[in-house]
Subunit: 318 residues, 3 copies
């Protein structure tokens, strides 16, 4: 019942991006983040299991470490589980990021182009304690608290990094429904005072078989007005090994300023062809239409100008 597994992903693409300038480049981790890791589970008796996961992100185009040079920047935790659920300690994904992954968190996906907090600054957190419930009424609950780092008296902000979030994830037949809430104690480590922040993310998906529809809604604190993001995506199965997906989304108050003109619209078109269970070829197109004060997109996008990217790549799992 015990096992230790070495695993990973190497994902490299060739892309053409248009932002401040247009350029062609080789990039890593576009469909899945390139990574290697070790994970394991041990049956410790009495219905309990010890688990661990060490996951290292890297850039296959240059060989450098990802996540700011952390070795296990993607995740690093140890956990203990039983019939009552699992508790994990360490660097981990937030429950909100888990819900965002139902929408898709690829570089060309809407929730990456619009940097929502649950897939951005707080997709992973340090010093976290996570509780994962068993499945109850087709629903899994997660609750996470991260204590922040070295909150000594010398820190400008004693609460930087403190975060609590939770999610409920319902999966039954064709339905997938996910709701997540997050509260960040101090989203800014420099300014004095607590720069608190709240966020909510809802995702609903229905799988018709040949077509799967996904809708989502995100709302979160910004400087003055709340950021709102909502969108729809449809994924079509084409034969055994190919999926085509289209998506459209509206982002409102990207900057959170009271003034108008910081909305944007994001359109995506994606194709994935599985050569095998482990290897896939993919093509992604994303186009962003920015209002006058919005600057979302690729390669240093310019406010008020459209930005876009197109890429083809290969993703290999081991």
């Amino acid at each position: 019942q015990s096992s230790v597994t070495l695993y990973g992903v190497v994902d490299v693409a060739l892309e053409r991006v248009k932002g401040a300038t247009s350029l062609t480049r080789v990039t890593s981790g576009q469909m899945f983040g390139s990574r290697w890791g070790v994970r394991g589970v041990e049956d410790v008796g009495g219905g309990m299991k010890a688990t661990f996961l060490l996951e290292s992100g890297f850039n296959a185009d240059t060989g450098t470490l990802g996540q700011g040079g952390r070795l296990f920047g993607r995740q690093g935790y140890v956990g203990l589980g039983g019939h009552w659920g699992t508790v994990r300690l360490g660097r981990q994904y937030t429950p909100m990021d888990d819900i965002a992954s139902i929408i898709g968190t690829k570089v060309y996906d809407v929730v990456s182009v619009v940097p929502i907090i649950g897939n951005g600054d707080y997709n992973r957190v340090d010093n976290a304690i996570t509780y994962v419930s068993p499945t109850v009424a087709n629903t899994v609950f997660q609750l996470q608290y991260s204590l922040g780092e070295e909150r000594a008296s010398t820190n400008t902000s004693a609460d930087f990094g403190k975060q609590v979030s939770a999610h409920a994830l319902y999966a039954q037949g064709p339905w997938t429904l996910g709701l997540s809430l997050m509260q960040v104690a101090d989203a800014d480590g420099v300014l004095a005072g607590k720069q608190g922040k709240d966020a909510l993310l809802f995702v609903g998906a229905y799988d018709f078989g040949p077509v799967k529809l996904t809708g989502y809604y995100d709302i979160e604190d910004k400087a003055v007005e709340k950021l709102k993001l909502f969108g729809l995506a449809a994924a079509f199965k084409v034969g055994e090994n190919t999926v085509l997906a289209v998506g459209a989304a509206q982002a409102k108050n990207v900057n959170g300023s009271a003034a108008a003109g910081d909305d944007a619209r994001i359109y995506t078109l994606q194709a994935t062809h599985n050569l095998s269970k482990r290897t896939a070829l993919y093509g992604h197109i994303t186009a962003v239409s920015n209002d006058t004060a919005s600057a979302l997109g690729f390669n240093n996008p310019v406010a008020g100008q459209s930005s876009s990217g197109i890429q083809v790549g290969i993703r290999h799992r081991f």
Copy 2:
């Protein structure tokens, strides 16, 4: 007879520490340093074996590399052994650290709270050549020389990092006796001239079965007066899977200054419960009583004030 093994430890704890301030935090590597590594042994014939070990330390609470960002900061060496013993080349533990590990070198152990050189600046050394003897009269001898790094004419101190140390480790029935000597050519890489340093560490342990007693004595050069550390610990087996341990130690001349008031006393209480061979839960308490000029302990301890820490954690080996 040949094998290559991927192995590691993930160890995360929740602790409350009192020093300059009191704070609660998640920390990594408190019982065992969190690590992953690869080790192997190859039978090359003629009674000889080639061995290697690459061991990478990391912080599971944040995913960062340990040992100042070194990949294999814990150890990295290749060796060749036969009936005459083993010679190893690379980054390695010092023979004195091997003896310190009989006392215990956890973060909450006495020889970590009092930063003795053999478990501190010289627990591991670069550019080392180590000879490990076969067991002779129940005793293993180790001799190590580290050459220092890039001792070019431009270095302020041409001898920084040069070190020689040795140990004798006797193990027979209930007895374990260890003695180690170390000489550092230049403990300071900035000051001109050789800032030489000597250290001696003695450890004796006797295992009564239900109780194991350990006593130790460390003496080493400091600025003016010698640092002296001596202490006792007792470990009690409670049932099959639980060990309770208590310890007390006296450190004299912590700063090495001629003036009085730089002594400290350290008290430890530890519990370990093995869930399995690979997984353990633990609890540690350490309290430090500092004299007016001593500042040992946790979270930026203040001279003359007591400091303490309490933690519970999980250690998982793979």
Copy 3:
């Protein structure tokens, strides 16, 4: 037909080098670069294979990462191959470095002492696309294009890192013949304008059985005059497990200046004794005779002075 392999090399030596000063030190990766990696191949059907390689260089004497702190600084790529050849994307060796490896690219080898571009700044490149042909008439062809990194408008040199190179490698009976060409778009990332650079490397070897002869010729752009390097090496089999090799080379216009006096001669003597397939002991001697303006060799060599190194080491593969 699918496999994933964890592999590596630990190589540590003791050397005495003479340059600006003479010193003795422990060094890593002298015969083979110390490394660990994961590589795999997957049969995806239809005669096609997916491959990947992630290779991390490190220094076993200190435990630090090599290649400027990159995790997979040696190589990191994913590829797809069929009867038509293989295409690989990521950080890779250049085709010219592949040809240089026939001569030998150890630290004490001529093409390392004379830093030719194909075994120096451009031995590996980021963001590369490589095509490897099937074997046609006993010859394998490689073609590589590297796109450079983040060639945004803000870069001083928009073409830094752009590179194209190719090789043809013929192997038939006792003959090995390799030819490689390289063109670097901008060898300098700071100076304005394209600092283009061309290089050519030819290697021929004939294996008589007990003796193998290798000759080579390298020519490449320098400031004013072209650098030229040519040399000969002979490797003698001594018994089953030992190889002795001698080499001599002439480097002309090491600095590329119009003035005379920047030539050098390099002499090598090498012995390798295989203890097993995985473990070898080795000894290397290299001596450099520098003309008045040449400063090749070891430990900060001085222009016009000879420089030399002698080392013994152990190389263990896993």
